[in-house]
Symmetry: C2
Subunit: 485 residues, 2 copies
């Protein structure tokens, strides 16, 4: 029999007191699975309450799945499979992303294999994150118990943030737009989802080959027809674009992902002319890591050179601040605003108001600029070091894509049909020495006659790891390139 202390003076109804007592005992394990509960009549008499009260308590326990009635027998405690099934979970803290480690641009879950050095393309160096500033801004957002930040806001994103982004884009990327053209959203995937709503139907899209596989997967999953367009040292071979018949082009002009070259001035003109040449053609400019450029003049955004209003600009704070901050922005051409308002502006914003306020203050108070300048210096140090180590090594590689971003490309030997196979050997040999590098073939939509190449990211590595990594790579590849070393 259960002796349940009942407070008759409590505001909580008696049936609920009984229900809670039993529920808590089941959760704590005091009433184990399969145990029979006392009969309703018996318990009612035991506790001196009405039978009806017990029935209500039991009824609620049944409704919530804690106990179940067995006909002719009574009530039994259920097996709480799901409540305590935590150990059986398929996903244990990030494994969903495990497969992709190193292959995205945003992910930053540590790889499972205990590599000594992982030249991951993911993530950012969090050792220099301005935690203090962040905490201070967070505190300021909450300090006034600012009610309005807990209410829902502008669907496109709060005006203050859109203005801050507008000003940032104008000053650092030459992008001229009005806040009405800016949409704030939770990550670039979400931006592409919105965009897919804005385009009236499935489209034919041209993508650089190789490209950012996350975007490729996105368009593929949507059933878009995808035409890969080769790249060379000037970037996308825009002369091939017309013949594909595509209506959209997805490009990374400032710093090609993953090859690293800048789209040349003449190719930019061709690309823009292609878009301007026909109604309905648009360019999606993914300006994913333009914040980090170490040499030469800043490369303006393609958007800033567009006389036709045909460039859709997408940027993110994932690289420049942190991947865990889910804030991206998209600048829509004026021509697409009507359509956006027709089909997609009714969506509530996907970014919390507090995060929006925090980021806009981070931008407006100059913290973002300070942070960027600091990180640029830090990454440049790593960049220079890796470059120097690679040059001083006897590795028979050509280094590309090294003026910007957070990774290099190491090309080896001449063009071959067999690039993917050779890359596989290079990656495997490195893995044997505990070094994680990434095959360029993973980013190809369609393989081509080309130089084999691997990718080395350095954002998250310490100086000692860079040295160790290059040394180990040298050792790993000795057998592979005996003739050339």
């Amino acid at each position: 029999m259960l002796t349940i202390p009942i407070e008759t003076k409590s505001k909580m109804p008696i049936y609920e007191q009984i229900y809670r007592y039993i529920r808590d005992d089941i959760i704590s394990g005091s009433l184990p699975c399969g145990m029979k509960l006392p009969s309703g009549r018996g318990l009612a008499s035991h506790l001196s309450v009405s039978r009806n009260t017990i029935d209500m308590a039991y009824g609620q326990l049944v409704a919530e799945g804690y106990i179940e009635p067995v006909p002719q027998k009574g009530y039994y405690v259920c097996k709480l499979d799901y409540l305590y099934a935590r150990k059986e979970n398929l996903y244990n803290g990030g494994s969903a992303e495990g497969e992709q480690t190193g292959y995205g641009r945003e992910g930053a879950v540590e790889s499972k294999i205990p590599y000594k050095v992982d030249f991951s393309l993911n993530g950012v160096d969090m050792d220099y994150f301005p935690y203090g500033t962040w905490r201070k801004l967070m505190r300021e957002c909450l300090i006034d118990d600012n009610k309005d930040l807990f209410l829902s806001g502008d669907h496109q994103g709060d005006l203050e943030l859109r203005q801050a982004v507008q000003s940032y884009l104008y000053q650092s990327r030459g992008v001229r737009c009005k806040p009405e053209q800016i949409i704030i959203g939770a990550g670039s995937d979400y931006m592409l989802l919105l965009l897919s709503r804005i385009f009236e139907s499935k489209k034919h899209i041209a993508m650089e080959n190789p490209t950012y596989k996350q975007a490729y997967t996105f368009f593929e999953s949507l059933g878009y027809q995808i035409s890969p367009v080769s790249v060379d040292e000037q970037g996308m071979r825009t002369e091939l674009l017309e013949a594909t018949g595509a209506e959209l082009a997805y490009v990374t002009p400032a710093h090609h992902f993953p090859m690293g070259m800048v789209l040349s001035a003449s190719r930019r003109q061709k690309l823009l002319a292609w878009a301007g040449g026909q109604e309905g053609r648009y360019i999606i400019e993914d300006d994913y890591d333009s914040e980090f450029r170490y040499a030469g003049k800043p490369i303006p955004a393609l958007h800033s050179q567009d006389p036709f209003g045909k460039v859709i600009y997408i940027g993110t704070f994932s690289k420049a601040i942190a991947p865990g901050i889910r804030i991206s922005y998209m600048v829509l051409p004026e021509k697409l605003l009507n359509r956006y308002h027709q089909v997609a502006d009714f969506y509530f914003s996907t970014v919390s108001r507090i995060d929006q306020r925090l980021i806009s203050r981070f931008l407006l108070q100059g913290d973002f600029e300070r942070h960027l300048n600091r990180m640029r210096k830090i990454y440049k140090t790593k960049h220079d070091m890796l470059l120097q180590e690679l040059r001083e090594s006897r590795l028979p590689v050509e280094i590309a894509g090294s003026s910007a971003g957070l990774h290099f490309l190491l090309a080896v030997g001449g063009k071959t049909e067999d690039a993917a196979e050779q890359e596989k050997r290079m990656v495997e040999a490195a893995a044997k020495e505990g070094i994680h590098i990434y095959a360029l073939s993973d980013f190809y939509i369609r393989e081509e006659l080309r130089q084999p190449a691997v990718l080395l990211g350095y954002a998250r590595l310490k100086e000692a790891e860079i040295k160790e990594g290059v040394l180990a790579l040298q050792k790993a590849w000795e057998g592979l390139f005996l003739d050339r070393m």
Copy 2:
């Protein structure tokens, strides 16, 4: 001529010092729009730097849109239209949502018209938000400079949060599921977007008539065929479902939106049987405000009664915590998990890691339960008061939907073809007295022979406003219902 102080010992290149000096002067207005800059040669000689240095500085200013070259003349300061165009903005702090005020379930921007009392259906009472707890949790999330919270996490949502949601749903809604079935996302709109990716093509969907217009707009914008299904006092008339030919049904079984009734037990069985009767049929259960129930037993989620694995459950923290917190959750049936992994699990999460951590702690530490209990009491007081005021008034209305949620429905007179027109008069008469109420016709997909009715939300009203509102409503409607008062 510009006299720019140059620090030769600075690490900053001289061209950049010049560039920044001029840029800042342009931004501050010291160099106004249209002003001619000194010639490159002149300035170089003036500052005793090389001509090349000036060219680089000017080049960058041109690239970033601060100045422009005029052939044969020189460089001129550009008009900074966009940077300073803030006053021209179409959107001034929430007006994008202005049109929808009162008509959604999430929005909470104050209406523009200076109503004395707005019985808005939106928003929550933020006077009782646990700001202190929130600040404390936020501080705890940041206090360890917890690096991993700034890296990207599990695409479905962090396991800790999915487990917390699983446990909450199990205990409070009887929903049994595994964390693998739960997807965390930035709002219910995003959940529907994900869902639309999971369904292979455009679908035929049945919706309650009237219904939540945000969802209706969503499916309509996607090109879904939509079959409205009438409701009566038992909820959706499920006997009409089969004949529509729909494959999906979007329903609000625990508390119909906006009418407020509970879907009856027999209708639930019929609805589930319909879904179980054919491959490919699914029910989308939007359990939007089930947290607030004031009378009778808690209504279990339809999901908890589903033997076929055909219910997709969607819930949100917008009502139970705050609309500005962009976190919703969806429970996918096991049958749909494969498809989800095929087409949509590559999307990065749309909720920041910090928000995820914060909410999971809020749930796990019992703060959510405490908050809900407190709010339930507060809303019940408002609810009871509004109910009493309405009953004591001489208003000739039937009150419906009053056992749950955050709004009532007031029905007037008999069924008529003319309900929308009568509602319009009721709403306008109220508006003249400064009272904002909402016509039921706004929620109808297709009009029907029915009782005219208006909706009164009370979540954000103070007790005095409730009294004032009902009094004013009485006055407003006197002329309308002379015969019955």
